[in-house]
């Protein structure tokens, strides 16, 4: 199963795509993904119900979040009430250690994203802040990367033996499906996604 793990809808302050438009685009362009995850900035969207769109378009639509830490941005999958109570998603100075620890404790999975990006990626902070404990998976293929950024992420993953996922970081409709993650199993919901990430065996895929 192939899921694009990193996308933003109009629920994010800088998102310009409606979820229905993402679905239409995927089908119109025959993008070979089975679904996508909405990782809205600094929040978890517990209001939206995309089940009707899932049925209409035959796509899996899951929800996560993208939070901000001193090491850069981090995707969180499997967000639940316990995790939302553990730290303030709106802050831009969350300790990465807290996000990693609390995600593990609450049955979620934290994945630092676009590590090669200046200021908001892991690579920029390793020299000054040191290597953080507890990172297991990073995003090695990002649709929002500029030249050299994904290469830096891949090198970081190899150096520290991190597993790698892919996500488009789409903010506009035509950017969805640029990067994704191929899993060796079916993923029905957010809990399944966390389980699949913990099991391993996945790989990042890129179409652009």
């Amino acid at each position: 199963m192939i899921l694009d793990l990193h996308n933003h809808s109009i629920k994010s302050d800088d998102g310009r795509a409606r979820v229905e438009s993402y679905c239409q685009w995927i089908r119109k362009k025959e993008i070979p993904i089975d679904g996508f995850v909405l990782t809205e900035h600094r929040q978890y969207d517990d209001e939206s119900d995309y089940r009707a769109l899932e049925d209409e378009f035959g796509l899996r639509i899951l929800k996560g979040s993208e939070v901000e830490t001193e090491y850069g941005h981090v995707l969180v999958f499997g967000v639940n009430d316990d995790l939302r109570a553990a730290f303030d998603f709106t802050r831009i100075d969350l300790p990465l250690a807290t996000v990693l620890e609390e995600s593990g404790r609450c049955g979620a999975q934290a994945v630092p994203c676009h590590p090669g990006r200046p200021n908001v990626g892991l690579c920029a902070h390793y020299e000054t802040r040191g290597v953080p404990e507890g990172v297991e998976i990073i995003e090695v293929a990002s649709g929002g990367s500029r030249a050299g950024e994904d290469e830096a992420a891949a090198a970081l993953a190899e150096r520290h033996d991190y597993a790698g996922v892919g996500g488009s970081d789409a903010h506009i409709v035509s950017h969805i499906g640029r990067c994704a993650t191929r899993f060796p199993r079916e993923i029905r919901d957010e809990e399944d996604l966390v389980a699949a990430l913990r099991e391993g065996g996945f790989e990042a895929v890129r179409w652009t």
């Binding site: 901000e68 831009i92 200046p118």
Partner: protein
């Protein structure tokens, strides 16, 4: 004053109310400048003639910010663009009432570092109090490193 204090003190509180006339010549000139070809916006003889939905972005209240709002949060900021929500056609020749408020203040980080976003909102209503348009204007300040 930090962002949380700004939120508590200012977000959601109306600080200005001003009347604006949708002058026929201005509406037509605006439509032409935008390259508008839809006769609803470009032909005053059209039965549904109205100002283009983005027309209200040209107006501004008497005050830009609440009276005690700290200047450092908008002096030197740059324009992050405007978002328009059209609730009803903008009637040409009508006088609308625009109220101003700070809708949100938040921080985020990006490639260039951390930034503070200020969302200035103007809500326009007709003389009957019916909503016509909401215009959100983002002002972005780059935080000190």
């Amino acid at each position: 004053m930090d962002v949380e204090e700004l939120k508590t003190r200012f977000v959601g509180e109306e600080f200005d109310s001003t009347e604006f006339e949708v002058k026929p010549a201005d509406a037509l000139a605006f439509a032409r400048c935008c390259g508008e070809t839809d006769p609803r916006y470009s032909d005053p003889r059209h039965p549904e003639y109205q100002a283009p939905p983005t027309f209200m972005t040209r107006f501004h209240g008497r005050r830009t910010m609440p009276e005690e709002f700290p200047e450092e949060y908008f002096q030197g900021s740059f324009d992050g663009g405007k978002t328009v929500i059209a609730h009803a056609p903008i009637p040409v020749g009508a006088t609308l009432v625009g109220t101003s408020q700070i809708a949100d203040v938040y921080r985020k980080t990006g490639r260039s570092g951390s930034m503070t976003f200020l969302v200035h909102r103007m809500e326009y209503r007709n003389q009957e109090g019916e909503p016509i348009s909401t215009v959100d204007w983002k002002l972005i300040r780059k935080d000190e490193a």
